[in-house]
């Protein structure tokens, strides 16, 4: 697998073409807007927490395939997760992006496809965009 193919795994390209969780965020009590000023990529994420579980999640945004696919994969992972687990997943994802060559934990599932991003420092922020927004929403929702 070439470097480029390890960056743009098929699952990433698929998610970027058919993003999950994309939708109207205006109805959410908690939303967060995250911008990557160096490239203009942006995302607005909304989520609901009930009884310690992320019950609903949606996002709007525009950006490169990495940032869009990453938000899409994340949506599937976080929806239905309890808050602790969601936070742990966000940490795992961040750790993976900072650790080129280290095998990611299995619970990251499809998100492990972003492993190749770690070798591209300038793209780490793209991959993190949605996750940072989710982190901010969780903080707002449950403190």
């Amino acid at each position: 697998m070439s470097d480029l193919e390890s960056l743009y795994r098929e699952v990433i390209l698929d998610h970027s073409r058919h993003p999950e969780g994309r939708g109207d965020v205006s109805g959410f009590a908690v939303t967060h807007h995250e911008l990557n000023p160096s490239c203009g990529d942006e995302i607005t994420l909304g989520l609901s927490v009930e009884d310690g579980v992320v019950t609903e999640l949606a996002w709007e945004g525009q950006g490169c395939s990495i940032s869009m696919a990453s938000a899409s994969v994340m949506s599937g992972l976080l929806k239905g997760a309890d808050v602790e687990a969601a936070r742990a997943l966000i940490d795992d994802f961040r750790t993976m992006l900072r650790s080129p060559g280290v095998e990611p934990p299995e619970r990251l599932e499809d998100a492990a496809a972003f492993q190749g991003v770690a070798r591209y420092v300038m793209r780490v922020k793209c991959a993190m965009l949605g996750w940072v927004a989710a982190e901010a929403c969780l903080l707002r929702a449950v403190g």
Binding site: L4, Y8, S38, D41, C64, S65, I66, Y120
Partner: protein
């Protein structure tokens, strides 16, 4: 042509270190030839000392090298030595003018300075919608400080503007017109003579952002007739950390220095300071001394090739770049109407593929390009895109590099499945 560029390429250590890479990002920053690196290193190793301070022989030698560098850079742009002010970069040079005008409005200069530069409510500053943030935000801030109004020439759907677009917003209240000589996104070459004529008619000052012109074709500010102009060494084979403000001497002598400190003054008491004439009034603190030596070496390097030869070579390469982009289906060339009559760069949008992904793909194919808004968000908003991809050339760029770019570009949409 090819002999020029083959001879030239050998002088660049960076190109030798990356033989399989096409560096097509010179509009962002250029590489330095060994002549520049060596000139600076030799100066540092043998002649470095404090400049314009004290009376030792070491200081004398360093001061001479420093002032000699100023004279060489000045003559490169048709200026006199005392019309060149060193700055940190071109952005800093533009800010010197805008911040100086702010201080003039506040009465920190003499009465003449207030009359010439002091804006107030009702006065207008004019820019274009295509400006680099460096030639936009300082004017927004000047307007905010003084109560003046910022107006702008609108660009068309393709990011281009003409003298009529500018004339439409220039009035008797226009005090400054600031515009780029060559756009770093569309490559548009501004109709400088027309703008200067327009400005003179209404008594406005002209500030030229010459970042993308001075490196690429012969430029003589005194012939162009503008009042101030800014450019950066790092875009013309010189070091980072230094740029220059050129200005008409009478205006420079009148403009209050916003950044103040040592070496800018005649008499200082605890209450106030008197400033030297230009350029020294603006050069506060220890200057980028060895960088000035490198900057001058870069201008010598270009002078030796000859700027007409540089322009001719780049014109040929620009034609190849335009053809490369035009050849690919689903790729939109920004400012297509300009053809090859543009600065040596092409910005484009690949349908269905975000610019970052385009850039990443080309990078993987050994082609360095620039992606993003290129510090021109309003222009990109007007173009209806968040980001474009830009390939840009310089004196060392060769046809083979453009061919590599062209070939890689054809693969982008298929790779991302955007052609389906």
């Amino acid at each position: 042509m090819n002999t020029l560029q083959a001879r030239v390429r050998d002088d660049f250590p960076f190109l030798a270190a990356h033989p399989h890479r096409a560096y097509l990002d010179s509009a962002a920053t250029s590489q330095r030839p060994r002549q520049v690196i060596d000139a600076e290193a030799a100066f540092v190793a043998a002649d470095y000392a404090a400049v314009h301070r004290g009376s030792s022989m070491a200081t004398g030698a360093a001061t001479q090298a420093f002032e000699d560098a100023r004279a060489r850079v000045a003559s490169f742009v048709g200026g006199a030595p005392d019309e060149i002010v060193w700055a940190e970069n071109a952005t800093d040079a533009i800010n010197m003018v805008a911040l100086g005008m702010s201080d003039a409005a506040l009465g920190l200069g003499c009465d003449d300075a207030r009359a010439r530069f002091g804006l107030g409510p009702g006065d207008e500053i004019v820019v274009t919608e295509a400006e680099h943030h460096a030639n936009l935000i300082p004017w927004q801030r000047l307007a905010a400080r003084t109560g003046a109004t910022l107006r702008w020439a609108a660009v068309d759907d393709d990011g281009l503007w003409g003298i009529d677009d500018l004339a439409a917003v220039v009035t008797d209240r226009t005090r400054v017109i600031a515009f780029a000589h060559v756009s770093n996104v569309t490559g548009l070459v501004a109709p400088v003579a027309d703008v200067v004529a327009l400005a003179r008619r209404v008594g406005a000052l002209t500030v030229l952002d010459a970042c993308q012109s001075v490196p690429h074709h012969p430029v003589d500010f005194s012939v162009l007739g503008v009042d101030f102009a800014a450019f950066s060494a790092h875009k013309m084979l010189g070091p980072t950390g230094i740029g220059a403000l050129w200005g008409r001497k009478d205006l420079l002598d009148l403009l209050p220095p916003a950044r103040t400190g040592g070496s800018t003054i005649t008499t200082v008491t605890m209450e106030s300071a008197q400033f030297l004439p230009a350029p020294y009034r603006f050069e506060a603190g220890t200057q980028p001394v060895s960088q000035a030596v490198g900057f001058a070496a870069a201008s010598d390097f270009l002078r030796e090739i000859g700027m007409p030869a540089v322009a001719a070579h780049e014109h040929e390469i620009t034609g190849l770049l335009v053809d490369a982009v035009a050849a690919v289906e689903g790729v939109r060339l920004i400012g297509a109407a300009l053809g090859a009559e543009r600065g040596p760069l092409v910005s484009f949008v690949v349908e269905g593929v975000h610019a970052h992904d385009v850039g990443q793909f080309l990078d993987d194919r050994g082609v360095t390009v620039r992606t993003g808004h290129h510090c021109a968000q309003p222009l990109h908003r007007r173009l209806g895109v968040a980001a474009t991809t830009r390939a840009s050339a310089y004196v060392y760029t060769d046809a083979e590099e453009v061919a590599r770019f062209a070939a890689a570009l054809t693969e982008v949409r298929p790779f991302f499945g955007a052609d389906r």
